[in-house]
Amino acid sequence: MTFLNAVRSFIIVFNYFCMAFTILLSIIYIIQMFVSLFRVRKNYNKHFSDDFRRYVDSHNLLPISLIIPAYNEQENIVQNIRSLMKINYPSYEILVVNDGSTDKTAELVISAFEMHPIETSIRYQIPTKNIRGVYYSKKYPNLLFVDKENGGKSDALNAGINISSYPLFTCLDADSRVERDALLKLSVEFIKDSRTVVAGGIVRIANGSKIVDGELKGFSMPKKLIERFQIVEYYRSFLSGRVFWSATNSLLIVSGAFGLFRKQTVIDVGGYKPNTIGEDMEIVVRIHRYMRKNKIKYKVIFNELSICWTQGPMSLNDIRSQRRRWQIGLMDTLISHRVMTLNPRYGMVGLLSMPYNWIFELFGALVETIGYFLIPFSLIMGELNMFFFVMYFLLAVMLGVILSEGSLVLEQYTHRAAMSAKQSISISIYAILENFGYRQIITIFRVEGILKYRKLRKTWGKIKRKEFEQ
């Protein structure tokens, strides 16, 4: 067999492999979408009879510590704290953990809320970097400002856990905004089922939306294409993917921007892993591992009706940095907990969720990218059947559109869309357009993350985001 024949055989085999891979992935996505459709419908109706607002005055609702790790967040931090003070929840404390910021984060918070240092006892249940001081304000008695040495986001969260007083805590990004009722809806999950240890809410792209004090006041289509694509992408990822994984109690990620945790469980697993950039996924996987290993009944829940708004990156460079970081975080977590993969001891997490993430979320990007380079090569080699190529491409695009459009339907069904009918239909055009260029670019960024795993695994990088409209 000559070298040329070997290359030809490889191309043919790879083409068939790609086709099988795409078909399998599409089938999984479609199953996810159908399961999500039923779940969202059921949850939406159930939500009506649950009448969660009656819990506002209930002392059965567990108090929450809101932990905001802040590193050089001088643009957003004060505004974010003010918006959190207006959330609809009976008992909560806000802990701002300044992770050794080099800008004016500390000065701004201390002066804006008239804070002064106090001595307080801290229960070091998770080791963290040194805490330099704790500040308190008599005007805002449920706000504490913790000043500590720089140690990364995980370390700041661990410090927040140590100093928090309540049984539930949520980690919130300084550049995100939670809706006024969002915590109430998430917290109800903990009293509805005492096995719940983690509950995550939906994160939506705020670009174009006007959010005042955690309330959506209007929507206008964001200017940049990249922002419009992200709106569709987030709907698909949250409404289709996470609802499905939550239904099988094998959800591996609760967004770092908005998740509610039972504090004791996080302490039991040793807190957030320091020096990792995928700390949000890592902690959830570790909780799964710990609970299943110790045969403790538990639930990791996704509640699609609890909403947190975040500003999506606005430039290709920022989105590249973000996606690279996500991919590295995913890879880091999968490698750290590889022992769970295909291990029946870990139930659905080991048998379904972990292999899915390895094959489709991690290596899927590699397969897709190799395909992009092999297609022109196959053409040159004369090994590409144009008819099949066109058909395969169209099928892949259409399946993508079905999924994205399906998520938009789900979103519209829950009556949560802030868009008018006209805007809603025009955003769905991006469900088609994203398949021509955007999707491919994102895939390449993900592959870059895999390739630069060793080099970038401890680097966060800074993304420039738009400020929230006042």
């Binding site: 159930k46 209930s58 002392h59 059965n60 106090i118 008599k138 005492s194 009944k297 809603s424 769905s428």
Partner: protein, 356 residues
């Protein structure tokens, strides 16, 4: 040829699905638009109507405004709830005079009929919602329907009907529902807490009815739920439970006894403050802080140096509520135990600030 044909069929199928999705999406988006417009209109209209009711100068004006409200609501539960919500907001500012007007609105609108309609026409979720609202309105004529729904296979409907019966103070049926979920530990804890909170009858009767039939886990959960109500007739049971061997029961009983702040229990609380389990020690410290005797103060001071953080923190919180002398306070603040001093300082800072 067959594969090519299949591919084309596949493509056509995808196109059809996309088309259907777009149609559904468009219809839903239109409905959403209509819904938003309707909601804004209702809000605006009902706010104006409520204003009319509040400002009516004479009885005849008030009557005509009330009639107008009833006509506007016209069986729409959302409009009715918005009206009541707006009136309740006004009530918070103006006080009880508005309460009478709310009653008049209710008389005119007849909300029981609105929810009865929902009960007849709605799905299980709407039925559940309607049942609770009917119970809020004291519609006893629907009690039989509530009892009927209690046996529903749908968990949400059964829960909502039991909640409605709890609001009506029905001991027998609420107890029956609670016993039906006795072994569902993930669910029963929440149910017991909620039902005892919202129960509008005699809580002691409900507890007695449950104590007769339930297991120890349920018993301890009920005792914990009863803590804020300090029901005297259960004190002998709490004393017995505390000296028993069941840990859950022991914790529940000491919490319940601690809430009474009864000087007779001091000796028992002193013993509990030395227990090997920190949960029991913390509960005992809380109870001792209500007694204000020198020996109780001494025990709480000792608890400030407890090896468990929670006990120290509880003691620090408790001691500032007790009749502590400045010299005792100085002893703690300047003492060798940094954690005790820190815990007390933190509590004092907050107390002083809240007084300032």
């Amino acid at each position: 040829m067959k594969v090519e044909l299949l591919s084309v069929i596949g493509l056509l199928l995808c196109l059809i699905i996309i088309g259907i999705e777009y149609i559904i999406h468009y219809r839903l988006a239109e409905r959403q638009d209509e819904h938003s417009v309707r909601e804004t209109n209702i809000n605006r209209r009902m706010t104006i109507r409520v204003d009319g009711v509040l400002r009516a100068p004479t009885r005849s004006c008030l009557d005509s405004e009330l009639k107008a409200i009833a006509e506007d609501i016209d069986g729409n539960y959302e409009a009715y709830e918005i009206t009541i919500q707006v009136m309740n907001e006004v009530k918070e500012k103006r006080g009880d005079s508005v309460e009478k007007l709310i009653d008049e609105v209710k008389n005119e609108v007849k909300p029981v009929e609105i929810y009865a309609q929902m009960l007849d026409d709605g799905d299980v979720y709407h039925k559940g919602y309607a049942l609770r609202r009917l119970a809020d309105l004291g519609a006893v004529e629907y009690k039989d329907t509530m009892i009927e729904c209690l046996d529903s296979k749908n968990r949400d409907l059964a829960y909502n009907s039991a909640m409605a019966l709890a609001l009506m103070g029905d001991v027998e049926n609420v107890a029956r529902y609670i016993m039906s979920i006795e072994n569902d530990r993930q669910y029963s804890g929440r149910i017991i807490n909620e039902f005892f909170d919202d129960f509008n009858g005699n809580r002691a009767d409900l507890a007695n009815c449950l104590f007769e039939q339930c297991n120890d886990y349920m018993k301890s959960t009920i005792i914990k739920a009863l803590v804020p109500y300090k029901i005297d007739e259960f004190r002998p049971m709490y004393l017995e439970g505390f000296s028993g061997k069941n840990f859950g029961m022991k914790v529940a009983c000491i919490k319940a006894l601690a809430a009474f702040g009864n000087p007779e229990d001091e000796q028992l609380l002193q013993i509990a403050a030395k227990d090997k389990e920190w949960v029991i020690r913390a509960a005992a410290v809380r109870g001792l802080s209500l007694l204000d005797s020198p020996s109780a103060l001494k025990s709480v001071k000792t608890a400030l140096t407890d090896k468990e953080w929670w006990v120290r923190q509880t003691a620090a919180n408790a001691i500032t509520n007790m009749d502590i002398s400045p010299s005792d306070l100085e002893d703690i603040l300047g003492g060798y135990d940094r954690f005790a001093a820190d815990a007390v300082k933190a509590v004092l800072y907050k107390k002083i600030d809240s007084l300032a």
